[in-house]
């Protein structure tokens, strides 16, 4: 096949691929028309500052339903999953935590708790998470100093929101799993479950 013909086919495939990319997240009617749909974003936009095997940096952040929560409170007691999501009222984020909300049993079975973190402020997080029903896990605000915790982990993007990232931390406070996910896509639930189950082996 001639080089120019190959180029045509390649162009066609690229065009088709681009046409196929549409945002199908944030589709629950629970959020009505309140979801802001950004353009497809650069998949990741930060450099990790921690790695698997490191001690997880401690932090203390305000929780949506009052008080402050420190990571260190779970040392020796619980495995911890931290779910950073980029922003409230956006499609994929709105389609992520509600799923975690129905799997408390899986977390309990693996002696784990979940901490959800965004850089939104408390009132915004309050209004947003209220659409998800009553959450069993804590939602923390890394709003001020803006994104300090996200930056400490190396998941603060250049535009001030966080990556869509998961960290699994064992009871000794050691990071056992990191997934800085494509911001445009939701991580599969089974990846968290698999990593939690590994902790108990």
């Amino acid at each position: 096949m001639k080089k120019s013909n190959c180029l045509s086919i390649l162009l066609g495939i690229v065009l088709i691929f681009l046409l196929g990319i549409t945002s199908s997240y944030g589709l629950s009617d629970a959020f009505k028309d309140n979801i802001y749909h950004p353009e497809n974003l650069k998949p990741t936009d930060s450099v990790l500052k921690v790695k698997i095997g490191d001690r997880a940096p401690d932090f203390t952040l305000p929780a949506v339903f009052g008080g402050k929560i420190s990571l260190s409170r779970y040392l020796g007691k619980k495995n911890v999953v931290i779910s950073f999501v980029p922003a409230a009222w956006t499609p994929v984020c709105s389609d992520q935590w509600p799923g975690y909300n129905i799997v408390k049993g899986i977390f309990d079975k693996n002696d784990a708790i979940l901490l959800g973190i965004t850089v939104d402020n408390i009132p915004t997080l309050f209004a947003w998470t209220n659409q998800m029903g009553k959450l069993w896990f804590s939602v923390l605000s890394d709003f001020w100093p803006h994104g300090r915790v996200a930056d400490r982990y190396g998941v603060l993007r250049s535009n001030g929101v966080t990556e869509r990232a998961l960290f699994v931390i064992d009871k000794k406070g050691i990071i056992r799993y990191i997934d800085v996910h494509d911001i445009n896509k939701r991580p599969r639930l089974e990846s968290i479950v698999r990593e939690l189950e590994k902790l108990n082996k």
């Binding site: 066609g12 065009l15 046409l19 196929g20 549409t22 589709l27 009617d29 629970a30 799923g99 909300n101």
Partner: protein, 196 residues
């Protein structure tokens, strides 16, 4: 000139072929129309296959389900309203199955938009869903159904000759199982047969 024409034709054919399968439909399925072509894998569970009247393996199209009416719920395990309405959908299923005049005529299935098989399984176990659920991990079915919000119900009536028509296509869950079933039976014409 000839080369440019060839390039254009190749590109156009590629776009046409893929656009019919990949691109999103512009609107949800319309009442009176037929479903877009959707191929689902025959369920692994014997009870699901038996419920839908399907062969042992392979793929099937929804109108091949052995029934006069099929109600299709587009849901997601990540959707709070779908979670909240799950018990109503279960009640709807039980009302149909408990009615000897309805159980062979009306079937219920769910399609998990953007959900993996594992996620669908989690949803099913969490809410004890008794009817077959199918995964649509890459949103491909969701796209051809016009990227509807969830939960969304589509009702189709299957004719004796195997053709079908959509008689219901609407955003929202079951909410009130009695009223919802009554509405489905009336709109599909099944109720005129004196089945309830």
């Amino acid at each position: 000139m000839k080369k440019i024409l060839i390039h254009f034709i190749v590109l156009a054919v590629c776009v046409f072929v893929f656009s019919s399968t990949v691109m999103a439909a512009k609107s949800p399925p319309l009442k009176g129309a037929i479903l877009p072509e959707i191929n689902l894998a025959v369920p692994v569970k014997d009870s699901d296959r038996s419920y839908l009247g399907l062969p042992a393996s392979g793929f099937f199209k929804i109108p091949q389900i052995k029934a006069r009416v099929v109600l299709i719920e587009i849901f997601s395990m990540y959707c709070p309203h779908c979670q909240g309405d799950a018990h109503n959908a279960n009640k709807l299923y039980n009302m149909i199955e408990d009615n000897p005049k309805l159980k062979d005529k009306v079937k219920l299935i769910g399609i998990g938009a953007g959900n993996s098989s594992y996620e669908v399984e989690v949803f099913m176990k969490t809410y004890d869903i008794p009817f077959p659920l199918f995964a649509d991990m890459d949103f491909s079915i969701h796209k051809v159904l016009g990227e509807v919000r969830t939960p969304y119900f589509i009702g189709i009536k299957i004719n004796n000759d195997g053709t079908h028509r959509i008689f219901y296509s609407k955003l929202g869950g079951v909410n009130n199982p009695d009223q919802f079933l009554d509405l489905m039976l009336r709109l599909s014409g099944v109720k005129q047969g004196g089945v309830k």
